[in-house]
């Protein structure tokens, strides 16, 4: 089952069909340029559904993030076939940017991952042009490391989970 996690401001919950509209809008926009975008609606659906499908297969996946009852983004653990290991990833809507929402949700996911799976590390794979996401990874306490990424140019940021939970 997909758990619900609560933080000071946020609820992390199972993705729902309606959440797809936000992902489709993201992939239709230039904001998705660091995530293999832009993608059309059919391509965006395939990405969304394949991310959500990790839950029944692996017991981890993306959480949809609510703030004051409204959807503000998606943060969770992604594991595509060409990922060397599970990845911590985040996405927030344009309106939710700059409020620390991705950071707050990512911390909750790291604590959950440590408690549930006993993982010692969790990585981010980030396009080198995505300065904003790199900054967030570092702000969360991660370190740029030389582990392999999803593609050879990725910046890989490693988070030490051992002090959590």
């Amino acid at each position: 089952m997909i758990p619900t996690l609560s933080t000071a401001r946020l609820t992390l919950r199972a993705p729902r069909l309606a959440d797809f509209e936000h992902r489709a809008a993201f992939y239709a926009s230039d904001r998705s340029v660091w995530e293999d975008g832009p993608l059309d609606r059919a391509q965006a659906w395939r990405v969304f559904a394949s991310d959500v499908g990790q839950w029944p297969l692996m017991g981890y996946g993306p959480f949809s993030v609510d703030h004051r009852g409204g959807y503000v983004g998606e943060v969770g653990i992604y594991h595509a076939a060409d990922f060397p290991e599970p990845e911590l990833g985040w996405f927030v809507t344009p309106e939710a940017e700059g409020k620390g929402i991705a950071a707050e949700a990512a911390r909750a996911v790291m604590v959950w991952a440590r408690a549930n799976f006993g993982w010692e590390q969790l990585v981010n794979y980030i396009d080198p042009g995505n300065a904003r996401s790199i900054a967030l990874g570092l702000r969360l306490g991660g370190r740029i490391c030389d582990r392999p990424g999803a593609c050879p140019t990725d910046v890989v940021i490693e988070h030490d989970l051992r002090g959590l939970a």
Partner: protein, 167 residues
């Protein structure tokens, strides 16, 4: 999230997908057998499809199950839905060497009946007109062509299933 069920038929067990099912699934998707599904697909694309097949259990309460005969996984049957499908769709595929034994028909019937039992209002199968083997399965299940139904892709045939249709 709905936990996927395990369904038993006379000869088959329909069970939840597992990560260990992926190599055989990817092999099928890399082969000519995936031509009617838009393939062949590389490993990355196949993984996306594999997870997509499982996602229905998290999003809709129905999705795909693996089909086992005598302890061997012989294929997959699933109910697909989402923005890419005009209606919930029943689909099936068999791994190489397991065709011609009625497995797809038997598994399809079991998941169809389970789906209608869960309250699905309609169930169709979208089909490339050249995919005669799959059309024969739909017909053996008792599904009928519905020329008025909206196809998934222009030119698709749409077979409409009814609950408990006799063989």
């Amino acid at each position: 999230m709905t936990l996927p069920p395990t369904l038993a038929t006379a000869r088959l067990t329909l069970r939840p997908m597992e990560p260990g099912d992926f190599p055989a699934y990817a092999a099928l998707m890399a082969s000519g057998r995936s031509a009617f599904m838009g393939g062949p697909f590389d490993t990355r694309a196949a993984w996306g499809l594999f997870c997509h097949d499982a996602a229905g259990w998290a999003l809709f309460g129905f999705g795909a199950l693996m089909v086992e005969a005598g302890g061997t996984t012989v294929g997959q049957v699933g109910i697909n839905h989402g923005p890419l499908f005009p209606e919930p769709e029943l689909g099936w595929m068999l791994y190489d060497g397991h065709e011609g034994q009625g497995y797809a028909t038997e598994a399809g019937r079991a998941l169809r009946d389970w789906g209608f039992g869960q309250g699905l209002p309609t169930l169709v199968s979208y089909m490339d007109p050249a995919n005669r083997a799959s059309a024969a399965v739909a017909e053996r299940m008792g599904a009928r062509l519905d020329p008025a139904a909206v196809p998934q892709d222009p030119g698709d045939l749409v077979y409409r299933h009814a609950p408990g249709t006799a063989a």
